[in-house]
């Protein structure tokens, strides 16, 4: 599983960071930064939660 971001859509809410600290971070403007493009199995639940909670639909989890 691979994480895809649409950073143009990101509104800098930081919800993804609160949900999956090891996978997402924010730059100085608050825009999402990907720390792990292919998160491990133990992180997938958190990433799915981040996809669901992102208020801008900027995160997507895709099968490789």
């Amino acid at each position: 599983m691979k994480v895809e971001l649409d950073t143009d859509k990101c509104v800098a809410s930081g919800q993804c960071v609160l949900t999956a600290m090891d996978v997402f971070d924010q730059d100085d403007d608050g825009i999402v930064v990907l720390l792990a493009e292919e998160p491990g199995a133990d992180q997938l639940d958190d990433v799915r939660e981040a996809v669901a909670v992102c208020p801008a639909a900027a995160i997507r989890l895709v099968e490789k």
Partner: protein, 391 residues
């Protein structure tokens, strides 16, 4: 549970439906929405879409394949007209009754209107209609200087329109963010050439502009009415659900046995702030949809819904972000930056606790630390310490 119906196919309804599947629900799932469009996002309507930076296809919340993967009976362009909680059925506008074992109500809100009409801004179609009227040199009157009206005013200025912002209160947004911060935001509009008129009450919208209560006509080519919203609960009349400025829920978001509510339409008592509230924030819609879905599926392990509310707004080059429950606050302290420069962090006190934080133009880490203080209900005095400039 074999049949679940979700009414309202927007942020909250979609989050609920997706959560049901993620949590392993494999039964029948019906998602009903009265708008013809596939689920789309509203915040860009008053920002990128109105500014013509994005076209409607950029607003869809999920790709078609993600919607297909949901394996739901998606009834778009279909209104739910009644709920029978005894028979456990939802009546649709085409006369069919959809039976349910579990129901999630996520029908959101609609704009309040004024006599005479004018534009409102809630749906994609509303935004496209308003956008068509915003050409350079045209005059837009915006009634209501809340976040929605303020964002539209900022975009219209960017498009070269003359803008008059009309607000009944003496300081815009004072009850939401406090007088001091409200004044900072309104100064930004004035500096960008918006005519701000506070303390005025609008009686009606006319073809020539806006008629004030004292009879004065404020001339305008287009008028946007942004004076708050009303929960979409009419279809629940006679269902036995408690309704009163929203669907009344318990702390688990349950409104009746097997019936939950989520998003802008849901009213519940927040366990952390002990206040009955209804939140019209985009993040809350998703979080609440998820929480309602989980509680519906796991009756034995329900959790009270106790989020730290989060809100953002974009106006000119300002990104405004807020965590917590600012409404009803008693004091505001600026703990970083400078109001005049429009880069600051303001911390809100209710009782002796930190109840909220609002930041403009500051790094995410700074705000996140204060979010923690809100989540813990940290004592205000020791948190703001001696650094706070009290206002």
């Amino acid at each position: 549970m074999r049949r679940i119906v979700v009414v309202g196919a927007s942020a909250a309804g979609l989050a609920a439906a997706e959560t049901l599947r993620r949590e392993g629900y494999t039964g029948a799932l019906t998602l009903v929405g009265d708008e013809p469009h596939a689920p789309y996002d509203r915040p860009p309507l008053s920002k990128q879409l109105l500014a013509a930076e994005w076209e409607p296809d950029r607003l869809t919340l999920r790709r078609p394949e993600d919607l297909t993967a949901l394996d739901a009976d998606l009834r778009l362009g279909t209104e739910a007209t009644a709920l029978d909680t005894a028979a456990r059925t939802v009546r649709l506008a085409d006369g069919t009754d959809v039976p349910y074992d579990g129901l999630i109500v996520a029908t959101g809100v609609r704009p309040r209107r004024l006599p005479g009409g004018g534009h409102v801004l809630r749906t994609l179609d509303d935004a496209l209609a308003l956008r068509a009227g915003l050409r350079p040199g045209r005059h837009l009157a915006v009634v209501g200087a809340g976040f929605l009206g303020a964002e539209a005013a900022a975009v219209a200025r960017g498009l070269g329109c003359e803008v008059t912002l009309l607000e009944p209160a003496p300081v815009p947004l004072a009850h939401a963010v406090g007088e001091e911060v409200g004044r900072v935001l309104s100064r930004a509009h004035q500096e960008h050439g918006v005519t701000l008129r506070t303390g005025v009450s609008v009686a009606e919208v006319t073809g020539a502009g806006v008629r004030l209560a004292d009879g004065e006509l404020v001339a305008a080519d287009e008028t946007l009415v942004a004076v708050g919203s009303l929960p979409n609960t009419e279809w629940l009349a006679g269902s036995g659900l408690g309704v009163g400025d929203g669907v009344l829920c318990d702390e688990y978001l349950e409104a009746a046995p097997g019936v939950y509510a989520a998003g802008d339409v849901a009213r519940w008592t927040h366990p952390l702030f002990c206040v009955s509230m209804r939140i019209e924030h985009r993040t809350n819609a998703a979080e609440q949809g998820m929480a309602a879905a989980r509680n519906l599926l796991n009756p034995g392990a329900r959790k009270p819904f106790a989020p730290v509310p989060y809100f953002w707004s974009d106006q000119y080059d300002m990104k405004i972000q807020a965590f917590g429950h600012l409404r009803g606050h008693e004091e505001v302290a600026v703990v970083e930056g400078d109001l005049a420069e429009r880069r600051f962090v303001a911390v809100y006190r209710t009782g002796d606790r930190v109840s909220g934080v609002l930041g403009v133009g500051v790094a995410p880490k700074v705000i996140r630390e204060w979010r923690q203080a809100v989540a813990k209900g940290a004592p205000f005095l020791s948190s703001v310490g001696g650094t706070g400039k009290e206002t």
